[in-house]
Symmetry: D2
Subunit: 347 residues, 4 copies
C-alpha cells in the first residue's frame, strides 16, 4: 500500500432550487459530483421548475435514527426469548450505557428477531449531526458487553448481524427506520409542466405508475419505486463528504405523482438518507466549502444541520427524478438529450 | 448552474493481491477512492492473505450482458401476447436493427413480462468494453421504433420500464443477468487464517452463515448475503471512472465460506458488476493512470479488458469482505481497528 | 398414524361468470371451497358484473411451464461454469433423457445460477394437463443422473435446490416462469360499476394504486400487488383437487385498473398458477363432478384442459378482487358485509 | 349461486410427536388434511424421531399479535407527519376505542409509513384465541372513525392499505410481527439421525445451508429459508378450521440446522402463524373433534389454547421439514418414496 492521492470527480453546483418546510425555507444551490455529466442539466431543469412553483419543494423530515444490530447466541430459543424480555425491560439502564460512549448517541428503541437459538438485537440511536456509523458501532459494543456481563447464558455472535442493515438492499430499513426519512413534494401548475418539462401532468402520472410502481414490482424490486434516485444521491453524497456506499439503501424510495385539477403533484419519499454534516470526509476543503454555500456551517442544535442537509438532498432527488420521468414520456427525448450533452465531451 | 470543479476523493492503491483464472494471472495493485479510510488497511489485509495462498484469488467470469427494458401499451393482454410472440420470432431482424446503432452492441436475448395490457420487453446486449448504459438505450430506441413501425396496435410506453433494472434493488438482474457476473474464490490454509486474520476457518464459516445468510434473510434482504460489498465497490468504481450509482445492484451478491480439511474456502459471487474500460469518466487522467497500472490500457479483443477489470474488482471485494468478517469474529476488534486508524485523522 | 377420514370444507358454486379468449368462451359456474363464507357472495358479485360486460372476462394464457432446480457441487466456480456450458450445449440430448421418463414431460429450457462452487440448474418442462410436481422431479432425477454420469467433476447436491421455487415466496417464478401465466381482463361500463359495485371507476383506480401498488411496495412485498388473490385461489384449488400449498406463489400477482372514457378497465395478472386436471386429488368424486360441470372432463389436446382450468381460476380471482376493492372504496362497507353475512352463522 | 356441499379433503392423524416448552409438554397426535398423501408418512417419520429425542420438540412462543393497516389521505406529507405524531400521542384513547369494539381485542402498538401525502397506519392487536381477522377489521374501523373525527384534515383512504399485510408475500409481517411467532427446536442424537433418517447430521446441515439459505436467496426469496413449510401448514390449517390462505405468510419462515458434538440441532422459526381456536371454521364437527383430541377444547386463559395450537403446528412443520431434508440428502430417495407411496393410489 502506498501513499495516496485523489480521485477527481467532476463537480458542479446546480440550481437554485426553491424549498420550504419546517427545517428550511428559501433558494439553494446544491453541489453534485459525478462522471455522468447529463445529470447536471437534468437536475437543473427540475430546479427551474421548483423556482416557478409557489412555495417550491416542501420537505418533511418524518424520522431520524441510526441503527446497529448485534447477534447473540443463546442455548435455545426459549433462552433467547427470556433474555430478550429482560433486555427490553432494562431499556433505561441501556440508555445510560450508551450515554457513556458519546456525547451525541442516544438509544431510542430496540427491535429483535429470534431465529432458532440466535438472537438479533437491533439498537436504534439518534446521533446528532453525524451519519453515525461509528458512533453506533461503539455504542453497540458497549451494549453487547453490558448484556453479556448480565447474561452468562448468551455468547458473542457478532457486533453486526446484518439486521441493521448497512449498505445492503433490504426491507428492514424502510420498515423500522434507518437514516433520515424525508418526503419532498412539489405541486406544479399544468402550464409549468408543459413549458419547462415538455409534457403533461397526465403523462407523468401514467408513466410513474407503469414504470416506477408496476415495472419495479415486476422486477422483484425492494421498496424501489423510482427511476434513478441513485444518480442524484451519488452526486450529492460525494459532493458533501458522505459515505456514498449508503446510496444502496438510500435508493430504496418511492416516487408518487397525481393529477390535481390539471396540475401535477409530484413527490419523492426517501426513508433511508444516511448522511451528516460532521464525521469522516466532512473536513475536506471542498466539502467545507460546499456545506458553507448551503448554509450548513452555522451553529445549530444537534441534528438540525444534518436534517437540513437531508432536505436539500431530497429536494435535489426530486428535481432529477421529475426531469427524467418527463423526458421518458416523450419518445426519443432521453437519447437526444444524452447525444446533445455528451457530444464533444466523450470519444 | 455554474462552472464546475472537482470533488477530491482520497485514493490509494492497495495490494498487491494475487489473482488467477481464464482472464488474468498474476499480482496486481488496485486503486480505491473513498472517504472511509479504514477501508484501505482492511482490503490490504485481505490482499496479503491472497499473496500467501497458492494460485491466489481465482476469478471466473460467468456471464456478461447489459440490458434495457422498454414498455409498450397494447389494447389488451391477448394483443400484447401475440405481439410478443412475433417480436421473439423476429429476433434475427432485431439483431440487424441493433447492429445499425453501434459497432459494439449486439442483441443476444429477449425477455418479457405482460401485466394487464402492458408489455415490458427486456433486451439483453453485449457492449464490448463499455458498461453500456447509453449504447443500450440507443439500441433500445431503434428497436422500439422498429417494433412500433411493425405493430400499429402497440403504443410507446417508455424507453425504460424499470424491468431493466438500472440502479435499483431488484431481483431481476441477478436472475436474468445484467453486468459482468464474476465469482472470486480463495482457498486459505488454516495457518494463514490464524496468522493474518487472527481467527479460525470455523469461526469465519459460522459468522458468514449467521450474519450474511441468516441475518440478511431476516432483514428481508434481496440477494444480498454479504457484509459490505458496497464499500469496496464504491472505492473501486470511483477510482476507475465507473458510474458508481451502479453499486446499488453491484452490492447484491453473496459471500460463501466453507471449512475444507482445516482450511478456509472463501468466495464472493457478484452477478451484477456494471463496469467498463471505455465510456464516461474513463478519459480522466487519474483514471487512465489507474487503468494503465492495472495493465488495462493494452489493446485486446472487445470486452476482454472490461472482463479483466471486473475480475480485479471482484478480487478486491473478496479481500475486503474476508478482512471484515474475520474482524467481526473477534469481540472488540472492529471498533479497535476503527479507533486506531482514525485517531488523529478526524476531529 | 391411523386410518384417515376427511376434512369437510364448505363448498359452493358461484356465478355464472362470463369469459372469453383463445381457450374458452361462454358462461361458467365455478366451485369454491372455503371456511370464509363471505367469499362466495363477494365473488358472486364480481361474476354478476362480468355478465353485464360485453365479452365478459377476457383470459390470455401467456405461458405454461413447470420447473425443478437441481443442485450440483463443483470443485470451483470455473469448473461449475465450464460444466454449465456443456450442459447447455447438450440440450437436445437432455430432451431425449426427459422423453424417456414420461409421455408428457418435455424439457423446454434451462436456466442456472453459480454461487461460489455451487451450480443450481433450473430445468423447465411442459407437463401436459398435470400440474407436474412429480413429473418434474422424476425428469430432474434422470437429468441429474445423466449429467453426473458425464461430469465426474460434479457431485450430487440436491434434487431440489430451492431455485425452482416450490411453495415459497420468491421472485424467480414470476421472472423465469413457473405454472400457467394467465391475465384476465374486464372492461366495465361506468354505470355497471355504479349499479353493481356501488362505487366509481376513479375510486377503484385510485385505491388499486394506493393499496395494491404503493401499500404492497411499502410492506416490502414480493410481486404481490393485489388485495386478496390468495382467498380465491385457496377456494378454487381445494374445490378442484389442486395442491393448495401452491397458493403461496399463486398469490404473487398483480391487479391493474385504469379509467378509460368513464369505464373501468380491470385486470388481474397471475403468472404462477400451478394447477392441472390430472394427478393427485383429481380422482376424488367431488372433484370429478366439479371438473365435469366446468366442461373439463372432455378429451382435448394435452394441456388444453388445464389451460381452460387456469383461465376459469383467473376469472374467478378477478371477480373476487374486483368486489373487495370496490367494497374498500366505501368507508364501512367491508365490515358491514362481514357482519351481515356472518350473523347467525358463527358464535 | 346455489346450495353448497363439501370438499372432502383426505385427513389423517399423524404422530405421536413429543413436545415441550412453556405452553405444553407431552405426546400429541396431530391432524393433516391434504391431497398430497406422501405428506403423512413424511411427517410421521419426523414425529418418530421426536419420540426418540430427550424432551422432544421444544416450542417457544416469541410473540403474538394481529394487525390491520388503514390508509389516510393527508393534504401533504407535513400534515400526515403532524397527524401521525398526534395519533401516536393519543394511544391510551385509541386503546379505549378498541376496547369498545370487542371483549378480546386490545390495541398494543402502532406503526406507520408516510409516502408522499399518504399515511399508512398499522394497528397491532392481541385477539385472544381468535386468529383475529374480523376483530381487527372491526377495531380498525372504529379507530379510523375516531381519528377522522379528530382530524378533519385527513380523508378516508382504505380500511386496509396492504401494509397489514394479509395473505401476501411481504417482509413487514416478519419484521413487525403478525400472527404467532413460534420457534420449534429439536436436538437429535447422531445415531437417531442415522437410524431413522438414513443420513448424517453433517449432510442435513450442509443441505440446509445450500438449499434453504443459499438457494432461496438466489431465487430472490422473501424470508423463506425452508424446504416446504407450506405443505405442513396447509394440512394443519385445513384440519383445524383455519383460514388456510394465511399459509402465504405462514410459509415465510426459516429452517436452521447445526452440528453439535455429533448430534443434529434442527429448528424451524415461524414468525407468522395466523391461527386460532375460535372463529370461522372452528364450529365444524370434525374440527371440534380434532381440537378435542389435541386437548384444545379445555377452558384456559384467553390466548392460551391458540398458542398451544401454534406450538403443535410448529412442531408438525419441524417433523415434515426434517424428513424431507433428510430424504434430499440421498440421491434418488425422494422420488423412490413418492413412487412407493403413490403406487396403486393414483392413476
Amino acid at each position: 500500500m502506498e501513499q495516496g492521492s485523489f480521485a477527481q470527480i467532476p463537480m458542479q453546483f446546480v440550481g437554485p432550487l426553491r424549498v420550504s418546510g419546517i427545517q428550511l425555507e428559501g433558494e439553494y444551490e446544491v453541489p453534485l459530483a459525478t462522471y455522468e455529466i447529463p445529470l447536471w442539466p437534468s437536475v437543473n431543469r427540475g430546479a427551474r421548475v421548483s423556482m416557478n412553483c409557489e412555495g417550491g419543494i416542501k420537505c418533511t423530515v418524518v424520522d431520524d435514527r441510526m441503527t446497529r444490530s448485534v447477534l447473540f447466541e443463546a442455548p435455545d430459543a426459549t433462552a433467547a426469548f427470556l433474555a430478550l424480555e429482560k433486555i427490553k425491560a432494562g431499556l433505561p439502564i441501556l440508555e445510560k450505557v450508551v450515554e457513556g460512549t458519546s456525547r451525541f448517541a442516544k438509544l431510542i428503541n430496540i427491535n429483535a428477531q429470534i431465529a432458532g437459538n440466535l438472537l438479533f438485537v437491533r439498537f436504534e440511536f439518534t446521533t446528532g449531526d453525524a451519519s453515525g456509523h461509528n458512533m453506533c458501532t461503539q455504542a453497540a459494543e458497549a451494549l453487547m458487553n453490558h448484556i453479556l456481563g448480565n447474561h452468562p447464558e448468551l455468547e458473542y455472535g457478532s457486533i453486526s448481524g446484518n439486521y441493521c442493515s448497512d449498505k445492503k438492499a433490504t426491507a428492514v430499513n424502510g420498515i423500522l427506520g434507518r437514516g433520515k426519512y424525508v418526503v419532498a413534494e412539489l405541486l406544479i401548475p399544468g402550464k409549468i409542466v408543459r413549458r419547462y418539462l415538455k409534457t403533461t401532468p397526465a403523462k407523468v402520472v401514467q408513466l410513474n405508475i407503469r414504470k416506477n410502481l408496476i415495472g419495479t414490482m415486476l422486477a422483484g424490486g425492494s421498496r424501489s419505486a423510482n427511476a434513478h434516485f441513485a444518480n442524484m444521491l451519488l452526486g450529492f453524497y460525494l459532493a458533501t463528504g458522505q459515505d456514498a456506499a449508503n446510496i444502496v439503501e438510500g435508493s430504496q424510495g418511492m416516487t408518487l405523482a397525481e393529477e390535481r385539477d390539471g396540475d401535477l403533484y409530484f413527490s419523492v419519499t426517501l426513508p433511508n438518507l444516511i448522511m451528516g454534516t460532521v464525521g469522516n470526509g466532512k473536513g475536506l476543503d471542498f466539502v467545507l466549502d460546499n456545506m458553507r454555500r448551503m448554509g450548513l456551517d452555522e451553529e445549530r442544535a444537534p441534528g438540525e444541520n444534518s436534517k437540513r442537509l437531508a432536505c436539500l438532498c431530497a429536494a435535489t432527488v426530486l428535481c432529477g427524478e421529475l426531469s427524467l420521468l418527463a423526458a421518458q414520456t416523450n419518445p426519443g427525448e432521453l437519447m437526444d438529450a444524452h447525444r446533445r450533452i455528451e457530444r464533444g465531451q466523450q470519444k
